[in-house]
């Protein structure tokens, strides 16, 4: 540690630089917020229209009763995977590069899951009966069917949202205390309340550290289970193109792939506008680029497996479904997906590309488009070309569901943009932990 470069930030630098991000926002910020709020208003208007006039507004009819909403639901749940992967799995593996991006990634996770959680309600139409999904004692002694993957989904996603939120807030507590100690007036009082009176005493750290490790240990199997459960929404059904044991790992890998792309989409502008280059360095971008590349290659392998299994199985319905997807009405969506998910990330084989913010940004956007289309391709064309020719059909998006889907991106960005101005979007404590500790005797260091 003693040979660290003299330019490495000190503890006080970290506090100063992170607290600087909480300063009063400029015009650009408000301009962005206004655009985002307008798009969100469009989405809310569309939803109101759908509630008023009915589900026909969303273009839903047999055979595609699952369309844009479930596509976008799975997309957002997938985005929500990178945060917990970074904060739990990489924590257990002691990957130190995670520290400067994990807070933003965790915030992203929670906001993504909050966004995803809206879609089953929007999709279900009468969302005021959403509580039917929850097991509760009622006068008819009626209970959910626990054999249904849709009920597993309710449990998996609410557990995921709860545990990620707890993990996120626990990680924030010492940082909020640091913000509290640097602020004055009513802000100080609010941060003092939120910090639970954290002081960083040895007994607090002792239980905190143990609890944090346990959260990571609990969240690791959870993050792998959630998207597996979501994939079983499909895989448990008999629809050709869905009924596959490949789905759980395939979904988990895709989720991590798209989640990392979204982390980059959020972190790169953050680094640029907040001037956090000392903390989010090229080596961090490089590590993220590598993860996108690896998960992208694994995803390509899964695509190949999927096609191979269909061709090798000899199942006529599966083969017909595949042929239709590759060549007919929705072929453009399938080939967009192959290009974005399999070809575009290959540029990340070059280190120059992995450390170039522009290249990374473009690749990340392509990956997000590709991953949205992956879910679209699983849902819409599969349902449109199942067993019976009289039940085949084409789904066309409407203004209503398109506005709601676009509005969900605005909702997500609104939450994220709000967050980065009120809470430290870079973990003060964890960044400090990766720095060389302040030592008086730099040559001998502490006693070992």
């Amino acid at each position: 540690m003693s040979d660290s470069p003299p330019t490495s930030p000190t503890f006080a630098d970290v506090n100063r630089d992170v607290l600087r991000t909480l300063g009063p926002p400029g015009n650009l910020y408000f301009a962005w917020m206004s655009v985002v709020a307008l798009i969100l208003a469009g989405g809310i208007l569309a939803w109101t229209g759908q509630i008023w006039w009915g589900m026909g507004m969303a273009g839903k009819r047999v055979p595609q009763q699952w369309a844009m909403y479930i596509t976008t639901f799975v997309f957002w749940i997938g985005i929500g995977h990178a945060g917990t992967l970074i904060s739990a799995i990489l924590y257990l593996f002691r990957a130190r590069w995670r520290t400067s991006i994990y807070r933003a990634a965790e915030a992203m996770t929670i906001f993504a899951v909050l966004t995803a959680g809206l879609f089953p309600l929007i999709h279900a139409g009468r969302m005021w009966f959403a509580y039917f999904l929850v097991p509760y004692p009622n006068q008819r002694d009626l209970w959910p069917n626990f054999r249904s993957p849709l009920v597993w989904d309710v449990f998996a996603i609410s557990t995921y949202l709860t545990i990620s939120t707890v993990f996120f807030i626990v990680g924030l507590i010492p940082d909020i205390a640091a913000v509290r100690d640097a602020s004055t007036g009513w802000r100080r009082r609010i941060y003092a309340l939120l910090s639970l009176g954290w002081e960083g005493s040895d007994s607090q750290w002792r239980h905190y550290r143990r609890a944090y490790g346990l959260f990571a240990a609990l969240a690791t199997p959870l993050v792998l289970s959630v998207h597996s459960v979501v994939s079983w929404d499909f895989a448990m059904a008999l629809v050709p193109g869905w009924h596959s044991t490949l789905f759980a790992p395939f979904f988990v890998d895709g989720a991590i792939f798209s989640g990392f792309a979204m982390v980059l989409v959020l972190v790169l502008p953050m680094r640029h506008f907040f001037k956090l280059h000392a903390y989010i360095q090229d080596k961090h971008l490089d590590a993220m680029g590598k993860l996108i590349l690896v998960t992208g290659l694994v995803l390509t392998y899964f695509y190949v497996c999927e096609i191979f299994t269909t061709l090798y199985s000899g199942d006529e319905f599966d083969k017909a479904s595949l042929f239709w997807k590759v060549t007919k009405s929705y072929a453009w969506a399938l080939w967009t997906m192959y290009f974005c998910n399999c070809v575009a990330p290959l540029i990340l084989f070059w280190k120059k590309a992995r450390t170039s913010p522009v290249v990374l940004y473009v690749v990340s956007i392509l990956v997000l488009i590709g991953m949205w289309f992956e879910r679209f391709n699983i849902i819409v064309p599969s349902l449109g070309h199942a067993f019976y020719p009289w039940a085949w059909g084409i789904y066309v998006p409407t203004l209503t569901d398109t506005s709601i889907v676009i509005g969900s991106f605005a909702w997500f960005l609104l939450l994220f943009l709000g967050f980065i101005k009120v809470m430290p979007s870079l973990s003060i404590v964890e960044v400090k932990e990766t720095l060389p500790p302040p030592l008086k005797d730099r040559v001998h260091g502490p006693h070992h």
Binding site: N15, F146, P174, G200, D202, H447
Partner: protein, 170 residues
Amino acid sequence: MVPTTETVLGVFAHVDTTVHALEELRAKGYHDLTVYTPVPVHEIEEVLERDRPVSRVRLFTLIGGLTGAVSGFLLTIWSALVWGLTTGGKPVVSIPPFVVIAFELTILFGGLATLIGMVVLGRLPRLAPSPTFDPRFTNDRFGVAVHCATGRGGSVREILRGAGAEEVRP
């Protein structure tokens, strides 16, 4: 009434001087220490953990997790029995799908119990700051508060200063 104990606080700028002070204090028989650090520091923990058992948070996690697993199976099996859905020749109590619910509840209850454990054992929330707390301890300073018998304050101050404290109070 004269208080029987007094508290001396030393503020340090460096990890090695803090560790040095802690070693000195422990050698002299002062064990009632509160150490404030901006980040968890391995070297400091190592000195303090010598005479302390491992944090009991893990017990909370274990009990929470087991409660979750048991209640997951109880809820699914019991509700399947009171409202039997006989479909597709499958058993009414079908364990494999119920494992999913039990798993999720294990994680959920385990996580919430861990949170409760951390809050309860760490004595949070703390409504008023401790008298020895200083706002610099969330930035870049380390604090060692020594609780000792009245009259011993002088020698404690000496140890703290000798170890390299940049400020000793009172």
